[in-house]
């Protein structure tokens, strides 16, 4: 196992950041998923040796990380915070950080060029970081994490602030790195982003790991838990009548000008709803909402278990 924690806890005064976490992270891409405040960043800071465990242990490649700087040769970290030496150009910054890995001038220049090329920032490499857009700053952070070709990458919310095209490219990049033999731990609070990268995830909530494993298993949990959909329609009764004729719907309630449907098979239900909307059989369907609190619903479900 690349990363292994055993009864890992971290508290800040009286506030618990991480609570008795015992996990192992295998090779490949692992998604660290959880809502804001779940402890993902605390976990990553412990794994990258920026924080000392209050109790328990954390090891990477079998050795502890706190107070063990040699480990950083094999580790690349992309932090969440938007912090840079804004007076330096992107290239200068990457070269300087590569130099801190012991690379000489030529090697650090070559490494910087490779890293900047990988994140599509070569054109802007000689501009000051202070003039970069949010997406460019996110990419330069990724570049500094990969410049020294580490075996383990810890990426804290790497897609934050990126436009959709760049998100797709970055997701592709992460999968390429995994195929090249690197181990990547990526954190996010958005399920479908993680889904696009990997099927192996760790779910966190309130400083604890609530589930780990294959994402399809987690999705199945979502499917088993009743899924609510609010549909505003021209003729809610007609919509309800037509939807009830199928077996995807568990229950139906009416709201003002809308119908609230519960379904245990959301994929099949949405397929049916889409064809209904397209055919116009039940009149106009004006609005369909399903808030993301279903992720919260899964967490609540898992925490209650």
């Amino acid at each position: 196992m690349i990363v292994a924690t055993e009864h890992l806890s971290k508290w800040y005064g009286e506030v618990s950041g991480l609570n008795d976490v015992t996990v192992t992270v295998p090779e490949g891409v692992t998604g660290l998923l959880g809502p804001n405040g779940a402890g993902k960043s605390t976990f990553m800071k412990l794994v990258t040796g920026q924080l000392r465990p209050s109790t328990g242990s954390v090891r990477i490649f079998g050795e502890p990380i706190w107070g063990n700087p040699a480990q950083y040769r094999r580790l690349g970290f992309c932090p969440e915070q938007d912090a840079f030496y804004t007076n330096m150009t992107g290239r200068e910054w990457i070269e300087a950080l590569a130099g801190l890995h012991g690379m000489d001038g030529d090697s650090s220049r070559a490494a910087a060029t490779r890293a900047l090329d990988a994140v599509d920032l070569l054109d802007a490499a000689d501009r000051k970081i202070g003039g970069y857009s949010k997406g460019m700053r996110q990419r330069i952070k990724l570049a500094q994490a990969i410049a020294h070709d580490p075996a383990l990458l810890i990426l804290d919310e790497p897609l934050s602030g990126m436009d959709p095209l760049m998100r797709r490219r970055t997701i592709r990049l992460i999968k390429e790195w995994a195929r090249a033999g690197k181990t990547v731990v990526v954190s996010s609070h958005i399920l479908h982003e993680i889904e696009a990268m990997t099927s192996n995830i760790l779910l966190m909530h309130n400083g604890r790991i609530v589930a780990e494993g294959n994402v399809h298993q987690i999705r199945a949990l979502i499917d088993e838990h009743p899924h609510r959909v609010w549909i505003r329609a021209e003729d809610p009764q007609a919509v309800a009548r037509l939807l009830l004729s199928g077996d995807e719907v568990s229950s139906v309630k009416f709201d003002e000008g809308a119908v609230i449907v519960e379904t245990a098979r959301p994929d099949a239900f949405y397929t049916r709803l889409t064809s209904l909307a397209a055919s116009g059989e039940a009149g106009a369907i004006e609005e369909v909402t399903s808030p993301d609190d279903n992720l919260q619903a899964v967490f609540s479900y898992l925490v209650k278990e």
Binding site: K128, G130, G131, V229, Y270, T274, E287, V288, T289, S290
Partner: protein
């Protein structure tokens, strides 16, 4: 798939400038500082000269042989001059990060996207610092006057020195205004409060040192004008002791302070913007 309403939704609430935005900014700034024990300690320490002077006034009022400890206009002049050190440290502690921290955290954009004007924002920041500075200059000075009245048991002292209250108020106001406006202007120059603090320290201490040396060497009192602090001391002396022989220098000192305040206002006008253009 869930389809959300993508159309524009009109705001239906009230649209009016918040007339007391400056007070909201000032109040929150002051409360944030008052939560810090270190700062409360500094404020408490800044009142120690008041305690010493209070004891002095008590002795002067109650012990006949120690009447030379009694109050005079010079007592209050000296007190305000002594408070300069605390004014300096409080200005740096509170003032250095007033705008610099907002610039660093991109909060300036947030502030200026609310229905308050830039002037309200600046006034709020100035007030945050000015209140604390007044609390260690004007307030203790006036309290000393009250103590003098209480210890002596009569209003004779105040009646015999009718210009004392306006003198204290004017001198303290000048001290507070100069420190607050200068510091807030310097704070707007950078996103590092440390840098702003050192700029202020340089302006105050270094300029003061230079002015003192040049004045000693050239025997020309006009060098006082290069140091805001020395200029202020000169004006405060004139406030308490009456106009000096060199009225032209007094006029120049006043003009120098006005120039400094205008320069600070120009800096604030140029630097307090929601957007910074990065070349």
């Amino acid at each position: 798939m869930p389809i959300h309403d993508q159309s524009y939704r009109h705001y239906t609430g009230e649209r009016a400038l918040h007339r007391r935005g400056w007070w909201v900014i000032a109040r929150n700034g002051m409360l944030a500082r008052l939560r810090e024990r270190r700062f409360l300690g500094l404020l408490l320490f800044a009142w120690s000269p008041f305690a010493l002077h209070a004891v002095q006034l008590y002795i002067g009022a109650t012990i006949v042989r120690a009447a030379f400890f009694g109050a005079s206009e010079e007592t209050f002049h000296t007190f305000l001059a002594q408070q300069r050190l605390f004014v300096f440290f409080i200005t740096i502690y509170v003032g250095a990060g007033l705008i610099a921290s907002d610039r660093q955290s991109n909060a300036l954009q947030l502030y200026l996207s609310k229905p308050i004007t830039r002037n309200a924002y600046i006034v709020g920041k100035l007030l945050t610092l000015a209140v604390f500075l007044a609390a260690v200059t004007w307030v203790p000075a006036m309290l000393l006057l009250v103590l003098q009245i209480l210890f002596s048991g009569s209003l004779d002292f105040v009646l015999d020195h009718p210009r004392l209250v306006p003198a204290i108020t004017l001198a303290a106001a000048l001290q507070v205004t100069l420190a607050a406006v200068t510091m807030v202007a310097l704070s707007s120059l950078s996103s590092s409060r440390r840098f702003a603090a050192m700029l202020y320290a340089g302006v105050v201490i270094f300029a003061g040192l230079l002015a003192t040396v040049l004045e000693a060497v050239t025997h020309n009192g006009a060098w006082v004008l290069i140091s805001p602090q020395n200029t202020l001391l000169f004006i405060n002396t004139a406030i308490f002791n009456g106009p000096p022989d060199n009225l032209a220098l007094l006029g120049s000192a006043g003009a120098a302070l006005i120039l400094l305040l205008v320069a600070s206002a120009v800096i604030l006008e140029r630097r307090v913007r929601a957007v910074d253009v990065v070349a």
